[in-house]
């Protein structure tokens, strides 16, 4: 008796502490995510510590990141296309200078490099150069720096090109990634919901206890399989299947992604909606049967409507699972960052992008922060989904 009086508060405070610390860790991760993500905006898309230079006589003083990319891809080859004089564009980076000048001219310690840059630009008025600021500080007399727009939120959201490692200026538009993620997840849930609901009804209402006792753990086991296994299964089975069925040039498509994600979302949908279906009071079911309704009528008119909010919650949780899935999507969707126009095209999802690119993105750099900004977008989507689940589940109480 005395002991209990002593131990109970201890256990209570232990539980309290673990609750608080979990919340604290979650909060810390969220703060970290948003701190990195938000600091992405208002950075310059040009490599840090470097600038672009053009000849003094060049009227073009401002360029956008996609324009710079097209110039260095040699898709834009004349200044006229950018509103400048009619002269061809020539590109110049330190590598070109290394070829144009001998080591002697550059100096053993590169001490004559700024002078070389200056004379190189002067000799070719159509040059656009890309140099580290250390070399150009107050040394270029014949060149002027090019203004490049900073990364803004609206451009980040509405941009349609994702070239995060493009040099000298990265184009980062999330529209193709965002649409790709939503497209794949939406169709995944469209495939998974009817199948999952049917399985849940079967388990809850039709299957006898023995079958249920075997089948339910098996379905729950599906959730424990590593996603890379699903991905590989998708790559060797579903991708060729999609390709031959629709006679496509390529099987890695949004459709293949949707099918794999649908399989992965099934356990969530089945378990949650089955639990909801089983909460239907026995009295209601028996009343329906006593009135002469068949079992199918009872399921359709009584059990499913009663569990509707639980089923909706299951669907939304399934969408959450599909939206956040990384590895399987990475392996079967082809990862082309193009604006999705149909289901039978490769797409790139946000989680796959983060997983594929974060490994090599320089810590704290522009690309790194852009990936965290993507994480923030994903977080907000998941938050909205969670909010919807809470709203829908709350209805059940009434």
């Amino acid at each position: 008796m005395r002991l209990r009086r002593f131990t109970e508060p201890v256990f209570e405070s232990l539980i309290k502490i673990s609750g608080y610390s979990t919340g604290f860790i979650v909060l810390l991760i969220v703060i970290f995510l948003f701190k990195e993500g938000i600091s992405f905006f208002n950075l310059s898309p040009v490599d840090e510590g470097s600038s672009l230079w053009v000849h003094n006589s060049n009227p073009v003083k401002k360029l956008t990141a996609p324009q710079i990319k097209d110039i260095f891809d040699q898709k834009i080859t004349n200044w006229k296309a950018l509103g400048g004089n009619d002269q061809p564009i020539s590109l110049c980076t330190l590598d070109e200078l290394g070829e144009a000048f001998t080591e002697e001219q550059l100096g053993a310690k590169f001490e004559r490099l700024p002078a070389c840059i200056d004379s190189y630009i002067d000799s070719l008025p159509g040059t656009i150069g890309f140099f580290p600021d250390k070399q150009t500080a107050n040394a270029l007399k014949n060149a002027q720096p090019v203004q490049v727009d900073k990364v803004s939120f609206s451009k980040f959201i509405s941009g349609t090109e994702w070239f995060p490692t493009s040099r000298p200026a990265a184009s980062m538009g999330v529209m193709p990634l965002l649409l790709g993620t939503l497209l794949v997840s939406f169709f995944a849930i469209l495939f998974a919901l009817p199948l999952g609901l049917a399985a849940a009804v079967y388990l809850a209402e039709i299957a006898d206890e023995r079958v249920r006792r075997i089948l339910k753990p098996v379905i729950e086991l599906l959730a424990g399989i590593p996603s890379v296994v699903y991905g590989f299964f998708g790559l060797v089975v579903i991708v060729p299947l999609v390709q031959s069925t629709f006679n496509l040039p390529v099987g890695e498509t949004a459709l293949a992604g949707s099918i794999v994600l649908a399989i992965m979302a099934l356990p969530t949908i089945i378990t949650v909606s089955e639990d909801a279906l089983r909460t239907t009071p026995r009295a209601m079911k028996e009343a329906s049967l006593a009135l002469g309704a068949s079992q199918w009528q009872t399921i359709r008119k009584v059990v499913v409507p009663y569990a509707a909010s639980g089923i909706t919650a299951a669907a939304i949780l399934g969408i959450g699972r599909a939206i956040g899935e990384t590895m399987a999507a990475l392996m079967v969707t082809g990862n082309s960052a193009i604006m999705p126009r149909s289901l039978l095209q490769p797409v790139r999802t946000i989680p796959a992008t983060i997983a594929a690119e974060l490994g090599e993105a320089p810590f704290g750099g522009l690309h790194f922060k852009a990936l965290f900004a993507l994480g923030c977008i994903l977080f907000i989507i998941t938050l909205i989904i969670n909010f919807l689940v809470e709203r829908v589940s709350a209805k059940r109480v009434r």
Partner: protein, 287 residues
Amino acid sequence: MKNLKFLFLAIPLFLASCGGDASQTTGTEGTETATTVSVKGSDTVLPLSQKEAEEYMKANAGAAITVVGGGSGTGITALLDGSTDICMSSRELKTDEKLKFTEKSIDVKEAIVGFDALSVIVHPENKVGQLTREQIEKIFTGEIKNWKEVGGADATIVAYSRESSSGTYEFFKEHVMDKKNYASTVLNMPATGAIVQSVSQTKGAIGYVGLAYLTASVKPVSVSYDAGKTFVAPSIQGAKDKSYPVARPLYYFYDAKNESKVKPFVDYVLSDAGQKNVTDAGYVPIK
């Protein structure tokens, strides 16, 4: 439930960010004791260096070699900070990197430890057996979209590339694509094995992989770097005598001040025994 969903999102991000952290900080180890040599850099050279280090430590009791990956750029940065003794690289130093070494007055020595040849592969049923560099460039920048433009059947070209985190991606971009960006329609695969798998099951596919990854399920293409005069099929012999153009040397860079410390290991790698490991790891030896 709310916390659970939080974690679904947070765990992969958290892990990934730890990964980023780790590659930043691991470079500081290895300089504590004089007998430890740290090797850091290119993921392409990583399996080779690991094998070399294992064999070297077997032969020399007391020697300790730590090998860390992270990419060529990471290794070069580490050499600049002095946080690694040897930097592995699958490319030569860029001019602006040379500039940084000069600013810090570090005299960089280089040793070529082997070669890696890239092979352009297509589906085995594809009629096209040879391509010029310009054609490959146009295929990967999206200018050529149909096989009939390069003498094949009337079928859409499906181009497979590695993800941007790969050194192979960078090498291919610089040496085959004339530094132009890949078209956004190109499919990015997370691993070289996945490229082989996809090319073998997609009729219109084209991709690139290291020579060591060639299997019978894909067909290698001969390439020409002189606008179609001579086409060379990828082979170890061709990479060795430099007749095959899509090959790259694999480098070890080190600070000349550190030479006495790293020399025994570098010499071992260049020796006959070391070069045998190069062949075993699937790369092309220097001799």
